[in-house]
């Protein structure tokens, strides 16, 4: 079943179109930076954009920072919202279930396929941003690769930290995915499930910025999203990254539990 879900994911044109679009945004930004050489001032604008002007090797991290707030969550919410609801709407869900496939196994396979999508997306964005960054923004021979804190960074260190970033952002996106996957088991409308997931994120983002909601801030799903920047400090500032991992883990566990409880016991009438 897992192999079947992965095949379905990879055979679907939508998967590759969305990944291509995700890679396109950082490329467009890089072209503008290349032409104008005007970056946001340090400390302003999306993370790292000021740093990459002098060094394209940091561009993968900057590219992830660009797609993280909006485009990546949208893509993930659409894919995971479609996971069960889309099959229900097209009627293929009932044919899978009477094949017979156990509902738990189907849900696990869906989850793994969403996980695969998240990592394909994140890794592809990072991987395509590297050549783009190097070719358009230079290798930073003048400045040298540095951390946000200003200390130099060797190439193995840079690779390790970029990999950690990919993992951290992938994990955060699984949080998004679990919201939409849960909603996807509630409704037969893939659109409703995807939008519902996004509504949760928007709400969370608004509350994070709201001082009046300070008491719940640390428990919001998007609170630690941007903490991956701390991976590029020297030394790495682990505190917020750890908290981010734990908060997402709780959301993922609870929502997947709810998704399973709902899906395993509900009537499939679509």
């Amino acid at each position: 079943m897992i192999r079947v879900e992965l095949r379905k994911l990879l055979l679907r044109p939508r998967t590759w179109v969305s990944v291509f679009l995700l890679c396109l945004l950082p490329a467009i930004v890089a072209i503008f930076l290349h032409i104008s050489r005007v970056g946001p001032r340090p400390g302003e604008g999306p993370a790292f954009l000021s740093a990459v002007l002098g060094n394209g090797a940091l561009y993968p991290a900057a590219a992830l920072g660009l797609v993280l707030p909006i485009f990546l969550p949208i893509a993930v919410a659409v894919v995971s919202g479609d996971a069960v609801a889309g099959e229900a709407a097209s009627g293929t869900l009932r044919y899978l279930l009477i094949r017979p496939v156990s509902r738990t196994r189907l849900l696990v396979a869906k989850l793994i396929s969403i996980g695969a999508y998240v990592f394909i997306a994140v890794v592809t964005v990072a991987a395509t941003a590297y050549p783009v960054g190097i070719s358009l923004l230079g290798t930073g021979e003048v400045v040298g690769t540095t951390t946000v804190s200003g200390t130099p960074l060797t190439t193995p260190q840079l690779i390790l930290r970029t990999v950690l970033t990919v993992l951290y952002i992938g994990w955060s996106m699984l949080g998004v995915a679990s919201v939409s996957l849960f909603l996807s088991t509630l409704t037969d409308s893939a659109l409703a499930a995807a939008l519902g997931g996004l509504a949760v994120l928007v709400t969370s983002t608004v509350l994070v910025a709201l001082d009046a909601a300070a008491s719940v801030r640390s428990y919001l799903p998007t609170r630690y999203w941007l903490s991956w920047v701390d991976l590029f400090r020297d030394p790495i500032l682990w505190r917020d990254v750890e908290r981010g991992v734990i908060v997402q883990a709780v959301y993922i566990a609870v929502l997947l539990g709810m998704a399973w409880a709902n899906f395993a016991t509900r009537d499939v009438t679509s």
Partner: protein, 311 residues
Amino acid sequence: MIVTRHLTKRFGRARVVDGIDLDVREGDRYGFLGPNGSGKTTTVRMLLGLVYATSGEIEVMGRRVPRHVRAALAEVGALVEAPAAYGHLSARANLDLVDAAGPSGPGVSRTNRTTRINEALEIVGLAGVGRQPVRQYSYGMRQRLGLAAALVRRPRLLVLDEPSNGLDPQGMREIRDLLLRLNAEGTTLFLSSHLLAEVDQLCNRVGILDRGRLVAQDDVTALRAATGRAVVRVSNPAFAARLLDGKIEERDGDRLVVSGLSVEEVTSLLVAGHVGVLEAVPERWTLEDAVLALTSHGSDRVGKPEPEEAR
């Protein structure tokens, strides 16, 4: 093959299926009849473990559903309402994906998957389909693909919901012949339909559902029982009418419907009176009569409520 005991399903306060006791035996061509909205599809979904019963028991292939639904469905092929497939994939890719999703069983393995898929496509008349995605198929082709999907695992029990939907008369005939052949080879058929003609031509046993209740379950021949009246065609209807004075209930040209007398009595009376008898048979209920007598209007007919005085 299918046994239910007091199977009931409630959606909110509505009893969609109300205490039905189905009994489908091995080798049956069982027709599950009922007007629209009488609970046929909900029952089929419960048999397949898609919808959970509110109360009652279900046994499919000797195994309890939904508890052992995976074992129960291993040798069942089904078409539930409309067929469904992934539109961007070809027919073969669709069958391959769904087949790979489930467990293997007797005669069903990964190694013979391609053979089985080709066989199924051949049987339903889709052997020539190429790499064209299902999105571009006509409704009839999708229906055939749905049937192929039900047949890929060489099932011993076929549960089909309106299998001839979207097919032209030739296609319906073809599918009917196919189902009869499969049945002759040992496949039990459970056919849910509101098309009387289809069930009449195909089935040897029927269950009739009305507003969630099973109002009849019997052999088709038993439902087509004699009405107690005789039908005769005669050479001289006017004279025959005088001979059978008072016994004739309907008269249509040379065809007379006689009540109160057996076929033998009518014939000997007419022969004694020198009336030529072209045909004399006992009148039988048609399946349609039986069904209409046992069921009410479908739920899709929403008439005006009757005025209070009329009740």
